[in-house]
Symmetry: C2
Subunit: 217 residues, 2 copies
Amino acid sequence: MQRRTSKVSDAVIRRLPRYHRYLEELVRDGIKRISSKELSRRIGFTASQIRQDFNCFGGFGQQGYGYNVELLYNEIKKILGLNERYNTIIVGAGNLGQAIANYTNFRKRGFEVKALFDINPKLIGLSIRGIEILDIDKMGEFVRDNDVKIAILCTPRENAQQVAETLVEYGIKSIWNFAPIDLDLPNDVIVENAHLSDSLYVLSYRMAEREKENKEK
Amino acid sequence: MQRRTSKVSDAVIRRLPRYHRYLEELVRDGIKRISSKELSRRIGFTASQIRQDFNCFGGFGQQGYGYNVELLYNEIKKILGLNERYNTIIVGAGNLGQAIANYTNFRKRGFEVKALFDINPKLIGLSIRGIEILDIDKMGEFVRDNDVKIAILCTPRENAQQVAETLVEYGIKSIWNFAPIDLDLPNDVIVENAHLSDSLYVLSYRMAEREKENKEK
DNA sequence: TAGATTGTTAATCGATTAACAATC
DNA sequence: TAGATTGTTAATCGATTAACAATC
C-alpha cells in the first residue's frame, strides 16, 4: 500500500496530451530536433516548465542540442500508454455512444471498441461500423470473455452510477465517463470524466464575464 | 484595455459547473439550506475552499445558517450565464456534430442549435431533429442573419483552423472546439476546448502508471 | 574551444487550507 | 443568550518561473 512512486502532479499529466499533439505535428513536418525555447514558442508553455515537465519522467534532452523530436515523441507516447492496445466497450448506445463508436481516431490510437450495450430493444442487434449493439444483460459475460480494459460510459445521468457499479463488479478498473455526474466508486477504479456540459458552461461563463466587463465601461 | 475586473482564477471557474450540478441535485431533492461543511462532504472540496470560491462573487451565505440552496443555485446559474439563451451553430456535421445536435440537454440549458454546416454534399439538405444541415458556403450569411453567438467546431483537425478563422471573420466571438488542435485566433475570441482525446489519454496514462506500480512490487 | 541548451536548484507566485472574529 | 457558520485574513503548500552550473 506504500506510495513510493514519485507522484507526478495532475497539472503535469494534463499537459502531456498537448505535448503529444505538438510533437506529432513536428514529426509530421519532418523536424528532427527542437529546443525547449522553440517548443515554448509553439506550444505556449514556458521553456522552464517544459524542461521541468519532461524531467518528471527522466532526461530526454541533450545539453547544447535540445530534444530529438522522434525520440521525445516516442517517450511521451509510452508515458501516455499509447504503445498499448486496449479493448473497450461503450455502455449507452445513444447518439454520443454511437458517435464515439464511429470515431475512428481512437481506434487508430489503440482504443478498440469491441461492443456497445444498451437497454433499448430498438437498438439491440444494430451495428455501428461492424460493432454490434448488445443487450446490457450480456455485459458481464462480454467483459469477462473479451479482455475489456476500459468502459466508456454514455448512459443518461440517472443510470450512470448504477451501471458503473455493475461494470466494477464485472472487473472493470477504468471508466471514461461522459455522464454528467461524479461517480462514487472504489478507489482502485480509475475514472476520467469528459463532462461536456461543464466545458460548455465555462464557455458561457466567459461570455457572461465579457458582457459584464463591456457594460461596466 | 485596462483590466480592473478582479479576475477570478481559472481554477475557481472550472469548479463552478460542479457546484451547479450539486446544487441542482439539492434543489431536486428538496433540500432548503446547506452549510459549507455539509456541501464539502458531498462535493469533495474543502469547506474553506467552497466559502472562498463563493466569495469571489459576493457573499451568498448567512452566518450561523449556511446557504439557501435555491438562492445559491440561482446565483451560480447567473454567474455561469445560464439564465441567457444562446443561438449556436455546429460546423462539421459528422458523427460528433450530429450527436451534439441530437443532445437535447444543451437546448434545455439555453443553447439552441440553429443549423449544422458541412462541405459534404451527401449531408447537405438532411435534418437532425428538425435542424438542417446547410452548405458551409451559407455559413457567413446565416451567422449574420440569426444572431449566432456560439460556433461548435466539429470538423476534422485539418480544417479546423481555417474554418475557425472564417467564423471569426463573420463575427463569431465564442467557439466550443472539439477539433484536436489549439486554435490560433485573435485574443478577443473566447475558445473553450473539449479535447476528447486529451481526456482519453489521461485515462490511459493512469492505467500505464498503475501497471508500472504493480510491476515494481 | 565557444556557444547553446539542458537538468536542476532556488526564488517567486498563486492557490489551498487553517484560523478566527463577526454575526445571524 | 449560546451555538453555528459565514466571510475574511493569515499560514501553508504546491506549482511555476528564474537562474545557473553542467555538459554536449
